[in-house]
Amino acid sequence: MPQPLFYLFVAVMLGFGAAVVLLRNPVSSALSLVVSFAGLAALYVSLNAYFAGVLQVLVYAGAVMVLFLFIIMLMDIREEQRRKINKVAVVGGAALVVGFVVQLGGVLAGYEAGRKPLDRVPLQLAEAAEARRAVGNVSPGITADLERGTLPDTKLVGEALFTRYHLQLQMVGVLLLVATVGVIVISRREDRVVSGSGE
């Protein structure tokens, strides 16, 4: 990605990220977060991670934030806007941000491989394809893509998830299932109490 575009998307991401905290209207905050996610997705795409970028938009901007917006719209917005600023929270939040940035700077300064500019580190797709053939060509689709000179990022993510991390994937799946069942149980119970008292 050309450098001006990188700075543009970073500015979009950080600027709208700050707007999430600074704006008083909750709907504006939620939408600022959506725009911030879009900037983040663009940065993923600039790193050739199309799949991660698209998922960022699909899951966070398209699904999670729509539900957030949905709930915010049912609230009384004027009451939120009248709420006084808590000075302790502001100072604490600012201190946390400064601390995090210092920590992040320290970690990044110590990362030697990061000193090379990205455009001087080309993707070695042909070599990767050869290496895959050498170990038995497990997923031929990925090898074929590599030989054609495209990065099959979606297929690589899929392969990693369903071979190396399949146990973790199933655990996350069970966790989500438990959460879903829990929500249904909680909402059912309340329903029964209401209908019981009515009769």
Partner: protein, 374 residues
């Protein structure tokens, strides 16, 4: 910098969105009236043509009413643009834009032709040749909810708000069926690039019409059942996603006046209108690309020929547009034939029937693929 690439991309973007999709939207509004008139045994708009009487001639030149969209556009621009006092102004202005932009953005990954041979170079007829085609379409289409939700909320009155709430719950519910129903298709193709999916169908038969190439093998015919289920679920979910009849509950006029765009007038209303039709056209394009072979001509694998001759590429584009037009006609046919669902029926259908069907279909396809591959 490769100027040829930049120039051809710019021409593809402006050509496909502004010279194909937008005029198609205008023609769709005319076609919708003509089709509804035909179904209801009326004549439909047939008067607007070249107004020869202005120039002193005896008779106008009607042209079968083909100029009607132009007159409609002029009407929208000349109408008073009313912004009611009680609305939240910024979001009231933003909402129509947020409906239209995602609808037009999704066309970036749809291959509207094979290759076009320009001066010895073969140019791929797709704006962005991404390896995440269908996912990109779903991601951008899921942003389309914001426009409708914000329109409902910013209007700050009851009916639009109910319309906005309905639309968001409907779109979120059917997104699941839409996404799951496309999984078996991707399992069969083992590919996420829409251009390569179409080329595969060009060589070995359309997904729903495997009559040539490798499509004649029993393995492909064994997959017809799950692919058929996918097609039906995907198409119906697409109807719900684009808020078309029989799922147009967000703007159901007998209950909600005009739903989320009740407070809108003039060009801002026209933007919702345009966005809705653009979403329908691109939805048809996606269905044609995934299930009906995209630009490919039936029985003739011609992708290689398009790389060397200029006329085959144009023929492919024509083939794609013909298929899309036929599918748009199907959208209209359904709209003027079926009655509207009730909202609880719509939600039950989405969650209890299509969700489970699409999920079971994934396992059915996996089972068949496992047996077939052995």
């Amino acid at each position: 910098m490769d100027w040829f690439l930049v120039l051809s991309s710019l021409i593809k973007i402006s050509g496909f969105t502004f010279l194909v999709i937008l005029p198609m939207v205008a023609l769709c509004s005319l076609a919708e009236r003509k089709v509804s008139a035909y179904i209801q045994d009326r004549v439909g708009p047939n008067r607007v043509g070249v107004p020869m009487t202005i120039f002193g001639a005896k008779k106008d030149f009607p042209l079968f009413g083909l100029i009607q969209p132009l007159a409609d556009g002029l009407k929208f621009i000349l109408k008073e643009d009313l912004t009611p006092k009680h609305v939240r102004k910024f979001y009231f202005w933003l909402a129509p834009v947020l409906t239209m932009v995602p609808a037009l953005l999704t066309c970036a990954v749809i291959p509207f032709g094979s290759y076009l041979n320009i001066g010895g170079r073969e140019v791929k007829m797709v704006i962005a040749d991404l390896n995440v085609g269908p996912l990109f379409t779903f991601a951008i289409a899921s942003l389309g909810v914001y426009g409708i939700v914000l329109a409902g909320w910013a209007s700050n009155s009851k009916y639009p708000f109910l319309g906005g709430v309905r639309s968001s719950s409907q779109m979120i519910s059917y997104e699941i069926a839409l996404g799951l129903s496309v999984v078996p298709v991707l399992m069969v193709f083992q590919e996420l690039n829409l251009g390569m999916i179409v080329e595969e169908q060009d060589r070995n038969g359309w997904l729903l019409l495997p009559l040539w190439g490798e499509g004649l093998s029993w393995q492909r015919w064994a997959l017809l059942l799950p692919m058929g289920i996918s097609f039906v679920v995907f198409t119906i979910a697409m109807f719900a996603e684009t808020n078309r009849m029989p799922f147009d509950l967000p703007e159901c006029e007998t209950e909600l006046v005009a739903g989320y765009h009740t407070e809108y007038s003039s060009m801002k209303f026209a933007m919702f209108f345009l966005g809705e039709y653009a979403a329908m056209i691109i939805g048809s394009g996606l269905i044609v690309t995934l299930f009906l072979g995209g630009w490919s001509i039936p029985f003739l694998p011609t992708a290689e020929l398009a790389k060397t001759t200029w006329w085959m590429g144009l023929l492919h584009m024509g083939c794609f547009l013909t298929k899309v037009a036929a599918f748009i006609f199907f959208f209209m046919w359904v709209r003027w034939t079926l009655p509207r669902f009730r909202f609880d029926q719509l939600m039950r259908l989405g969650w209890v029937f299509f969700f489970e069907l699409a999920l079971a279909n994934v396992f059915l396809t996996a089972l068949i693929l496992m047996i077939v591959k052995r």
